[in-house]
Amino acid sequence: MKKHHFTWGGLYLALVFVILYAPILYLMIFSFSAGKTMEKYHGFSFQHYVDLFADGRMITIVINTLIVALLASLIATIIGTMGALVIKDSRGTWRNSLLSLNNVLMVSPDVIIGASFLIFFTVLGIRLGFMSVLLSHIAFCIPIVVLMVLPKLNELSPTLVDAAYDLGASRWQALSRVVLPAIAPGIFAGYFMALTYSLDDFAVTFFVTGNGFSTLSVEIYSRARQGINLEINALSTLMFIVSLLLVIGYYFISKHSGRRNRIVAVKEGDAQ
């Protein structure tokens, strides 16, 4: 938005951005307040950060959350990429059924996923805790990966694989040296999306976690119900900075890989 060129649209957008960012900035500002509540700013202080790092329970939970997220999205990326390859190879009604089944967990409300997984784990006798949370996160991350990878696969010219065979590649070589590198941006985006879904999840984890195991969302939920605690603000600020760095990193990586990958679009463009 250029300052010298006022438009109502620009003003509207500015307002939307203020609303979107106000709560986040609000949290961050009070994380540096010396006071104990979010009512009045009491002067600059790192006290809440000191408290946060001294809070062993909170640190454990943050680590738990990260382990679950990293592990779940990694496994989901592997299975999801395989799934996308399977769907890509399928035809007709079979393909449509696979796609519909794939999307069930995408469109299901979290409470349904949480409740049905809870029944599932209970029936199987899986103890509620790290394992059940990890399995659930893998489960709801898989379709995200499939949806990110599949369009990249569809963009690939079918002759690309033929070309690899033609040049002597085996099926495995065609996959590992041509298909996977060519869809790498999609796989990467899938992993990234899975990571954020996992980090962000509250409801599913809330249902399937047991006594000994908690993730950040669940912990904040229980603490927030007890009232304001500025340690959480400090945590939010740190998490926001980490997210920001991740997004910037992602932005640059996808921009870079986008350059190499654009040929798929360009290729169709010059066929006139």
């Binding site: 049905s116 489960a139 954020t196 962000d200 969302s217």
Partner: protein, 269 residues
Amino acid sequence: MRQKVLFTIPYALWILLFVIAPLVLIFYQSFFNIDGQATLGNYATYLTSRVYLKMTLNSVWYAFLITLVTLVISYPTAYVLNRLPNKQFWLLLVILPTWINLLLKTYAFIGLFSQTGTINQFLRFVGLGSHQLLFTDASFMFVAAYIEIPFMVLPIFNSLAEINPSLINASKDLGASQWQAFTKVVWPLSLPGVKAGIQAVFIPSLSLFMITRLIGGNRVITLGTAIEEHFLTTQNWGMGSTIGVILILAMFIVMFVTGEGRQKGGHRG
């Protein structure tokens, strides 16, 4: 061939264990009462109880309002965004807040809306006096809409970005005014995005329970809240599953009405 089988097994297992089995189980569970006896009682209770029916209607009504508010805010946002230079960057800024943990954002609103919070301080300062903001319908809807906005903006933005600009020029060339070009060309062509957005917002809104608890203060009871309560508080899984089945039905209806959209549905409580 071996490679194909190798790839199919994990994905097929996932579909079987984590897609089909849980759905079958929740359906199966809905025919059992709290003592583990097979019964149709849960459905009978649901269909005859004024409390449950009212709750369902309530839930649908709130979800509708949240979706409407989100749409009204998001469409112009997506429209203006789409006309900016560097629009991808601005879009990223809209999406960025979704990377912040949902609980943290909700938590921020508790502070903002509380009796002694910033908003009330501001209201007192301009002489409007302080008001009960937290635990009201309005605050519940505001926070829900706040959280959903990016999920509505994104599909609408995408469908607007896909519209070939020469179509708008063509309509103007054929005599359409700015407004006519919008209503007759832009709006119809952006409908798929709007539908995808509605789908991405309405279904999660039906099942919100975290926001109802923290911001709505249990004044608003949704299908999601009821399921959570039956499963985790009263331990009546049968009744919880019954409401779950109802919710799944509602979901299918919404998907049918808004057509096949494949936008991200959203994992939000």
